[in-house]
Subunit: 194 residues, 2 copies
DNA sequence: CGCGGGTTTGATGATGCTCAAGCCCGGTGG
DNA sequence: CCACCGGGCTTGAGCATCATCAAACCCGCG
């Protein structure tokens, strides 16, 4: 199981992991199963761990005053999951994170991450790359949110993350796009004709 | 002028800068003036430098097929400016960056940043913090974009970045919020009554 | 068969956009 | 000193997009 994480790290950095480093990773990252609909984090809780998805699908979302969920982020295999704001500040999170499918993760505590994991050169490299990718993805999503129509945002999603549409139901996709499920349904209907 | 950057770095990390490190920073970061409306980066260009604003105000935006500008990001004193996607990938940028006020920056090349600046412990610390702040700010802005009404987004902006409203005209703020200047005008009118 | 989650469809309405005009105000030049 | 100009802001009327609400449908599963 940890092999997957080793491969992931090595294929995302120029540096290989030593066997000692692998041992450290093995000790810090605890395997955990999160069943469908089970929470990884609830609003108001302080996020204490960082998880790497081995198998499954998760979502991060806020809930507004009317009780409507708004999907901030969707994550699949080989993605990192945690609420950065909360884990860094150690303040209660504004968001929920739960599993959409039965999910297996490798989970490390904030302390282990800081003191043990983030001293490994290959890991530092990997996180630097991830950080860059993540920041540009967020920026592009903001651009889409403020400059695209609902239809354009959906088309953009189809190109950028076709997996999402396979793995998540339409009402989740709609929420991710910032529209209602009815609107998405109509957009798809229109698109199918052409 | 470089003193400002030294202070900024030291106050954002637990570590102080040695005089050698200060010397390196001085050599890598070149002062530059960018006049109002002058470009720092144009769509299609590859971003080659990272800038730190000493004085002034800048904006990053995309332009849609109708020629309308959409403000992705606004930056003031002591903010970092560059198009991360382009500077990392060395591919043409999708965005424009220009000065909204006459601006003074300290500018470092991609190479100097990677080989010289990012080896300084205090700088690494500082960027780690900035990265965390930036990522959480983007996430919260996405949350606002998909779950708030125009009015709520404006109120949120007033709380989070009151400086923006002082420094940028309303049509820029409107674009940043993903609405038209007319809509923002009406929101403000409504808000003034209460 | 019936239930639950997901999707579709329709009718209606709110929110925010478009277009067009006018206003306000500081700066410039005659 | 006044006229005019430009940038920014406001206002109004009409319209498009998307949300809301309610109902029906679809289908896999116990």
């Amino acid at each position: 199981m940890h092999e997957i994480l080793f491969n992931y790290i090595e294929s995302n950095s120029e540096i290989l992991l030593t066997s000692q480093e692998k041992e450290i990773i093995k000790q810090c990252f605890i395997p955990k199963k999160i069943r469908k609909h089970q929470y990884f984090l609830q609003e108001g809780d302080v996020c204490k761990t960082t998880a790497f998805i081995i198998k499954g699908a998760m979502r991060q979302y806020s809930v507004d005053d009317k009780g409507v969920e708004h999907i901030i982020r969707l994550s699949l295999e080989y993605w990192w999951v945690s609420d950065r704001e909360s884990i860094v500040s150690q303040k209660p999170s504004k968001y929920y994170i739960d599993a959409w499918e039965d999910t297996e993760v490798l989970q490390a505590s904030r302390e282990d991450m800081a003191t043990k994991i983030m001293t490994i050169p290959a890991v530092i490299e990997t996180f630097k790359t991830m950080d860059n990718n993540h920041a540009t993805a967020l920026q592009n999503r903001i651009n889409a949110a403020i400059s695209f129509t609902a239809e354009q945002r959906y088309e953009d999603l189809l190109k950028t993350y076709p997996e999402f549409v396979q793995r998540f139901p339409q009402h989740i996709i709609a929420s991710y796009l910032g529209i209602t499920k009815e609107t998405l349904s109509r957009i798809r209907k229109k698109g199918a004709k052409q």
